[in-house]
Symmetry: C2
Subunit: 313 residues, 2 copies
């Protein structure tokens, strides 16, 4: 299948594996890239040296294109970018911050830059900054989320109408029916997070992967909105955060409640009582831990099935 | 186009016009039914006698099938149902309450019953109660909304997987691309609310219709969650409700803030300062007040365009 996104990245399959903290290391990224889709290393939970190591290991494990995701709000974002450039990475997904400062230098270095956006204004801004594509990520997405709470089904067509660059749909997408739906809305690829977090090659803790496959439709919440909205499982920490928020706690109190290592505790260490189990609403559609390559193949199979089914209408 | 929903209602076009308070009277319902889709009279803002009048006027204006929407939490829900039965209505959409008490008598009276649900559990319950179909309505929807905040893109496929009866997708759907996306997810019809609220035949105030077409992607919020979650425009009342909620106000305080006639003030009287302007996230995709028949035709045209475009993938 050819779309502007497959052309842009020189990949066979228009699926992007999201660069998730504590999940998307070299093993996951290289496996997804080897399967013909685009693997991303999630730099969000890495120090610059660790990122360098993961880039090198990814390159050893695949000859296919791969990229890195850089959260621009990190104080050392520029350092992470420098490491990636030194290691000849050419595909950058930037998120959680303003792309204006970072896009031009990356473009000047011949890189492909895609910014993750959660409303129309951000998407237009990213296009103006020179980004090659945008991810339009809806309210359903796991982890950090936009403040406007715009769901994927309404966000994607509005972003498609507003920009000329290609759009990658994200947020809640965990199977091929949904991927086909995203293409109906005008997307030219999908980014899937939670589905890849529950794969064999994901770096997440087994307890976390188990929690993803056990999660039902209403088991996640968007909370901590006064700090930075995050979607996570209604695990003990998630429920506590929701209670505190609902009782009107201030930003400072919520920052203190959150602390610094909740994500690591939940996703990487599998600490049920204290950790943040970030995941998207797509978790309700994930019922098996699978090899990442099988996720890619199965999603494409379901995509074709949805296409064949709807063509008969 | 034939689906189990077009067969069930004996309609030509698998679009349902939502039964909205202060919006869906005989004029809108009969116009939509005459256009080949299914018009619903929204009993939620009607006393029993007014409902009777609207049913009679609808019948004078169309020979096509139409239905009524009954919010089951209304203390006089049974009375409304009795009026509709006396007037030989055979299509009932029930919402906002438990269908168990009402479905069996309606089925015994040879009626078709569809319940509006916002999570998998409710949908399964509706099927067990004997409903002929369910509406799976996501977080994007305007007005009263589910407590689980499950978006349409993730809700619909999970409901489709969980029940055997046909599923009508709702929540944020305002154009034919989205309708085609909903079919990709397994829906056999869509229910559209906000798109029909901004039509010539809608009973809403002109100020309200204008607000729908001016609304951008991030201009609605889901708020008043401690009372009953409702999606509305960030108009003065909406923003105030959000502020009060965020500061931790109790359910009682929010009930007092809400008062009794906010919906009427906003939607029917167009009172910008004091009214509730309930609308869904689909408002970002609505930019013109159109005749309702044109909405039906345009949506089907866009549906076909999306189908042709995705067929080429």
């Amino acid at each position: 299948m050819k779309t502007r996104i497959t052309e842009l990245f020189q990949i066979d399959i228009p699926i992007v594996q999201a660069g998730m903290v504590w999940v998307s290391g070299w093993k996951l990224a290289s496996t997804v890239s080897n399967a013909g889709a685009l693997g991303l290393i999630g730099a969000g939970s890495m120090k610059p040296d660790l990122l360098r190591e993961h880039i090198r290991k990814t390159r050893e494990a695949t000859t296919k294109p791969f990229g890195v995701n850089i959260p621009l709000l990190r104080p050392d974002a520029q350092e992470l970018i420098n490491v990636a450039l030194e290691e000849h990475v050419t595909i950058f997904f930037t998120s959680a911050g303003h792309p204006i400062k970072f896009t031009a230098p990356l473009k000047a270095a011949q890189c492909t830059v895609v910014h993750v956006t959660s409303n129309v204004k951000q998407a237009k801004k990213a296009e103006e900054c020179g980004c090659d594509a945008v991810v339009a990520e809806g309210f359903e997405a796991g982890g950090h989320n936009g403040v406007d709470e715009i769901a994927t089904l309404t966000l994607v067509p509005q972003v498609v109408d507003a920009v000329s660059i290609p759009v990658v749909a994200a947020g809640g997408i965990a199977d091929g029916r949904q991927m086909f739906a995203a293409f109906a809305l005008g997307a030219e690829a999908v980014q899937m997070g939670t589905r890849f977090a529950a794969t064999v090659e994901s770096s997440a803790h087994e307890r976390y992967k188990q929690a993803v496959i056990e999660a039902k439709d209403g088991d996640t919440i968007l909370t901590l909105k006064k700090v930075a909205p995050v979607r996570l499982l209604k695990s003990p920490f998630g429920l506590n955060a929701q209670r505190q928020e609902s009782s009107g706690k201030s930003k400072e109190e919520l920052v203190e409640l959150l602390g610094k290592i909740r994500e690591r505790k939940g996703i990487f260490e599998g600490n049920w009582e204290e950790g943040e189990f970030e995941m998207g609403q797509g978790s309700g559609l994930v019922s098996e831990i699978l090899p990442a390559a099988e996720v890619v193949q199965r999603t494409m199979r379901e995509f074709e099935e949805a296409k064949n089914r709807t063509m008969k209408l």
